[in-house]
C-alpha cells in the first residue's frame, strides 16, 4: 500500500478538474504506483467532485487501471493467438516456475506481478511480454529466465 499524499491534488492542478481530466489523472497515478488504492480513488472523486462509484466504474472498465495491489514490476504476457502459436505457454510456465506465482498473482515481496494482456503489437516477433513499459520479444524459456534474473537483481 502506498500513501497518496498530495499526489491527487498536484495531478488535478496539472490536468484540470473536469470530467475529461479523470483518465489522465488515474493513468498518472498508475504510472507512478502501478495500481489504484481505494483511498486514491476516493481522493480523486473528491477533487473532481464526482462520486467515488464513478471513479471506480471508470477504473474497473480498463485493464491497465488496476485496482488490485501490483508489484514493482508488472509482467504482461501477450495472450494473442500469434504468441500462442509461437510458444506462449512455455514462457508462462517458465515465469510461473521462477516467480512461484500463477497468472494473476503478485509475489509476496511485492516485486513482481504476472498477468496476461491483449495483443501488444509484436506479433512478428512472438512470443512477447511487457515488463512495465519495456517490451521483450522472440522469447524462449532461456531468454525469459535471463531477463527475470536481471530484474531480480535490480
Amino acid at each position: 500500500m502506498y500513501q497518496v499524499g498530495n499526489l491527487v491534488k498536484e495531478l488535478s492542478d496539472k490536468h484540470g478538474r473536469m470530467r475529461e481530466s479523470l483518465m489522465p489523472i488515474l493513468q498518472e497515478i498508475v504510472q507512478k504506483h502501478n495500481y489504484l488504492t481505494d483511498e486514491a480513488m476516493v481522493e480523486v472523486a473528491r477533487e473532481l467532485d464526482i462520486s467515488a462509484a464513478e471513479v471506480y466504474g471508470t477504473a474497473s472498465f480498463y485493464t491497465f487501471l488496476d485496482t488490485q495491489v501490483k508489484g514493482k514490476y508488472v509482467i504482461r504476457v501477450c495472450k494473442t493467438i500469434t504468441c500462442s502459436m509461437k510458444g506462449k505457454s512455455d514462457i508462462i510456465q517458465t515465469l510461473e516456475d521462477m516467480l512461484k506465482i500463477k497468472i494473476g498473482e503478485t509475489t509476496t515481496d511485492k516485486q513482481f506481478s504476472l498477468i496476461e494482456t491483449n495483443c501488444i503489437g509484436w506479433c512478428h516477433k512472438a512470443p512477447a511480454i511487457l515488463i512495465n513499459e519495456m517490451p521483450y520479444t522472440e522469447l524462449t524459456p532461456e531468454k525469459v529466465s535471463t531477463i527475470i534474473k536481471d530484474y531480480m537483481q535490480k
Partner: protein, 625 residues
C-alpha cells in the same frame, strides 16, 4: 556532410539489433579503418527495413545490393572483396529457396519488388526523432501547398477524387466523411486520430508512429484545415510507450518550427494537437466509444447516426480517421488524386499495410497495392510457410474478420472481395495458419477475446459471445453435440443482427467463416472425437512407438509431470493418467529416432497397453515388439 563513394545502410530495427546489428557495425568500422577506406565508405544506422526475417542486414548504396544474415566473421572478407576489389559477395546475398542463383539487388527481391510504399515511404530511411529528416523527404510540403494554394473545398475534392477509403477497417470514403463534417454549422470542430490499435495480430499504427510520426500528424493538420478545426487528439494505446514518446517529441519539434500551433507557416490557420492515452480496453477503438473515453465518460458505444462527423466529441462535429488514413493524406496532396486513384482496384484505391504474421517465413509489415492476390502476399512476399508445412488459411480483420481457406488463395485483396469471402479488411492483420492449426480452436480464441472485451451493453454481444464460447469449449473438449453447429449459426446470426456497434455485429465472423470453410473439422471434433490438427488437448494422446524407441531416457528426463516410465535401453512408456499433453517429449525426441507420435480420434483406442518398460532388442535395425 561529406560525400562518400559507398554508403552502408545498416538496419537497426528491433529484430536486427537482437540479431547483433551493433556488433556488425563495430566490425565494419574496424575493417574499413584497417583497409584505410574511412574516407570512402560510411556506415549509416537506419530504422527498420522490414525484412526482419533476414537480419542482421544492410543495403549497399548507391549500388542497391542487399546483404542478409550477416555475422561479424563475414565482415573482413566482405569489405575486402566488395569494397576494395569490387567483387560483390554472392554467399551473403538473398537466395530464393528453390533457385541456386542469388538475387543481388534489393529492388529485385520479391519481398520488396511486390511492395509499394506510400504510408511506409520513410521507413528505414529517416531518423523518426529528427524533424529535419522528415522535412528533407518532402515533409510538410503538402501542408504548405494546402495552406498557400488550396481552399478547404479543394482539399476535400482532391481527397474525394482520390477514392481513399478509411484504413481502420470499415472502409468509409474519407472525402465524404470530411464533406459531411465541413457542412455542419456547429463550431468548434475536432480532428481525431484513432491509434487504439487492438486487433490481435496488427501493429501498423505502432510502426507508423515509431518510424515516421510526423506523416500522420501532417495529415491531421491538413484535415483540420479542410473541415475548419483547430484542435486535434491522438488517441493512443498505452501498450505502445515508444510510439507515444515519439508523438510527444514530434509535436514539440513541429511547434518549434511553426508547423503546428498558432498561425502555421505565417497564415491565419492555427492547429494544436493533444495526446490521449487508452488504458487497455479494446472497445475504445470503436469511434463512439473512443470519443466517450476522451471525454472521461464510460466508453460504451452509442448508436449511430448521428455519426461523429455530425456530432462527435462534446457533441461537436468531429472527423475521426485511422493512423494509416492520416499518413496517406500528405502523399495524395503532393502527388495528386489522379496518381493515387490509378493504384489499386475499381473500388479500393491506393495501398494497404498488412501485418503478415503467424506461420510465415518473412513475418513483418508489408505495404501492397490493393488488388494483389493473397497468393502473392503469402508466397512471393511472405516466402511461404516454414518447414514445408501446408498452408491452411489466413485470418484477416482481427476478431471481426474471418478465415480464408487455401482454395481461395487467388482472390484479390480489396474491401469487397474480403467481405464476400466472409472476412473483412479490418485494420490489416493477416495471421497465416498451417496444417498444425485447429480452426475450432482459432474460433474459440477470437470469441474468448470478444467475450472479454465486450463492454456489456447489448445482451446479444455480452451473453451471445458467452454462449458461443461455451459451446466452442465443449467442442474442443470433446463434449460437442451435433446440434451445436446449428446453435452456433443461429446465435451467431442473432448477435450480428441485434448488437449496436461494430464489435458486436462482427464478432461472430470467426465462427461463421470457419463453419463455412472448415465444417469438416468441427464435425470431426463432434462425431469422431478427433482433432485433425492434433491441437485440442482433450482429444489427443502422445504415444511412444515401441519399434522406434531406443531407450535414451531423453523424454523421461524432460517430462515436466514425470509421466514417462523407463530406464536406459528400455522401451519407454507414457502413463496417460499423468500426461499433461505439453508435448515436451515430442520436442526432445531426436529427429533420427522420432519415436513419439500424437494421435487423435479412433487411433487413441488403438494404443494397446504395454504396462512396463522392457529392454530394447534390435533385429534388422528394428526393435522387437
Amino acid at each position: 556532410m561529406a560525400v562518400r563513394r559507398i554508403e552502408l545502410m545498416l538496419c537497426t530495427g528491433t529484430g536486427c539489433v537482437a540479431g547483433g546489428a551493433f556488433r556488425i557495425s563495430e566490425a565494419l568500422e574496424k575493417e574499413i579503418q584497417k583497409q584505410g577506406l574511412e574516407k570512402e565508405i560510411s556506415v549509416i544506422i537506419t530504422g527498420c527495413n522490414g525484412f526482419c526475417g533476414h537480419g542482421p542486414l544492410m543495403l549497399v548504396q548507391p549500388d542497391g545490393i542487399f546483404y542478409g544474415f550477416l555475422t561479424p566473421e563475414d565482415i573482413p572478407f566482405l569489405v575486402q572483396e566488395h569494397f576494395l576489389k569490387g567483387r560483390p559477395v554472392k554467399k551473403l546475398m538473398f537466395s530464393p529457396p528453390e533457385k541456386k542463383e542469388p538475387v543481388p539487388l534489393l529492388s529485385e527481391i520479391p519481398f520488396f519488388k511486390k511492395q509499394l510504399l506510400i504510408v511506409l515511404r520513410n521507413r528505414g530511411i529517416i531518423d523518426p526523432e529528427k524533424i529535419d529528416e522528415y522535412i528533407a523527404r518532402d515533409g510538410f510540403t503538402a501542408l504548405e501547398k494546402v495552406l498557400t494554394s488550396m481552399t478547404p473545398d479543394d482539399v476535400i475534392n482532391e481527397i474525394t477524387r482520390s477514392g481513399l477509403r478509411g484504413r481502420g477497417g470499415a472502409g468509409f470514403p474519407t472525402g465524404t466523411k470530411w464533406k459531411i463534417c465541413r457542412a455542419e454549422q456547429k463550431m468548434p470542430k475536432y480532428i481525431i486520430c484513432n491509434c487504439d490499435e487492438g486487433d490481435p495480430g496488427a501493429f501498423m499504427d505502432r510502426s507508423v508512429f515509431e518510424s515516421d510520426p510526423l506523416s500522420a500528424m501532417e495529415g491531421m493538420i491538413i484535415g483540420g484545415y479542410a473541415i475548419g478545426a483547430s484542435h486535434g487528439y491522438i488517441y493512443a494505446r498505452s501498450e505502445y510507450p515508444l510510439a507515444i514518446k515519439r508523438m510527444n517529441l514530434s509535436i514539440s519539434s513541429a511547434k518549434d518550427y511553426g508547423l503546428m500551433g498558432k498561425n502555421i507557416l505565417g497564415t491565419d490557420f492555427s492547429f494544436d494537437l493533444e495526446i490521449r492515452q487508452g488504458s487497455g480496453a479494446f472497445v475504445c477503438g470503436e469511434e463512439t466509444s473512443l470519443i466517450l473515453s476522451i471525454e472521461g465518460r464510460g466508453p460504451e458505444p452509442i448508436q449511430r447516426p448521428p455519426f461523429p462527423a455530425q456530432s462527435g466529441i462534446w457533441g461537436c462535429p468531429t472527423v475521426i480517421n485511422n493512423v494509416e488514413t492520416w499518413a496517406t493524406i500528405p502523399v495524395i496532396i503532393n502527388r495528386g488524386a489522379d496518381w493515387f486513384s490509378k493504384i489499386g482496384t475499381e473500388t479500393s484505391k491506393g495501398t494497404k499495410i498488412f501485418s503478415l504474421v503467424g506461420k510465415i517465413n518473412n513475418a513483418g509489415l508489408i505495404e501492397v497495392p490493393m488488388g494483389i492476390t493473397l497468393k502473392e502476399i503469402v508466397y512471393d512476399i511472405g516466402g511461404g510457410i516454414p518447414d514445408n508445412k501446408k498452408f491452411k488459411a489466413v485470418q484477416t480483420g482481427g476478431p471481426s474478420g474471418g478465415c480464408i481457406p487455401y482454395s481461395m488463395i487467388d482472390i484479390p485483396i480489396d474491401f469487397e472481395s474480403l467481405i464476400e469471402a466472409g472476412s473483412m479488411m479490418g485494420s490489416g492483420g493477416m495471421i497465416v495458419m498451417d496444417e498444425d492449426t485447429c480452426m475450432v480452436d482459432v474460433a474459440k480464441f477470437f470469441i474468448q477475446f470478444t467475450n472479454d472485451e465486450s463492454c456489456g451493453k447489448c445482451t446479444t454481444c455480452r451473453d451471445g459471445s458467452e454462449a458461443l464460447h461455451k459451446v466452442l469449449t465443449d467442442i474442443t473438449n470433446g463434449d460437442g453435440k451435433e446440434v451445436d453447429l446449428e446453435f452456433l449459426e443461429e446465435v451467431g446470426n442473432a448477435i450480428k443482427d441485434a448488437s449496436a456497434c461494430g464489435l458486436g455485429t462482427t464478432l461472430p465472423n470467426p465462427v461463421l467463416s470457419t463453419l463455412k470453410y472448415f465444417r469438416d473439422e468441427y464435425e470431426a471434433h463432434i462425431k469422431e472425437r478427433r482433432c485433425p490438427a492434433l491441437v485440442c488437448k482433450n482429444l489427443i494422446k502422445y504415444y511412444i512407438l515401441p519399434e522406434k524407441c531406443t531407450g535414451c531416457k531423453l523424454c523421461l528426463k524432460n517430462c515436466p509431470p514425470g509421466a514417462i516410465k523407463g530406464e536406459l535401453k528400455h522401451i519407454h512408456i507414457i502413463d496417460q493418467s499423468k500426461c499433461t499433453k505439453c508435448g515436451t517429449c515430442l520436442d526432445v525426441c531426436p529427429p533420427k529416432v522420432s519415436a513419439i507420435i500424437k494421435v487423435s480420434g479412433k487411433e487413441m483406442e488403438n494404443i494397446t497397453g504395454i504396462e512396463e518398460p522392457y529392454p530394447v532388442k534390435r533385429k534388422g535395425g528394428k526393435n522387437e515388439t
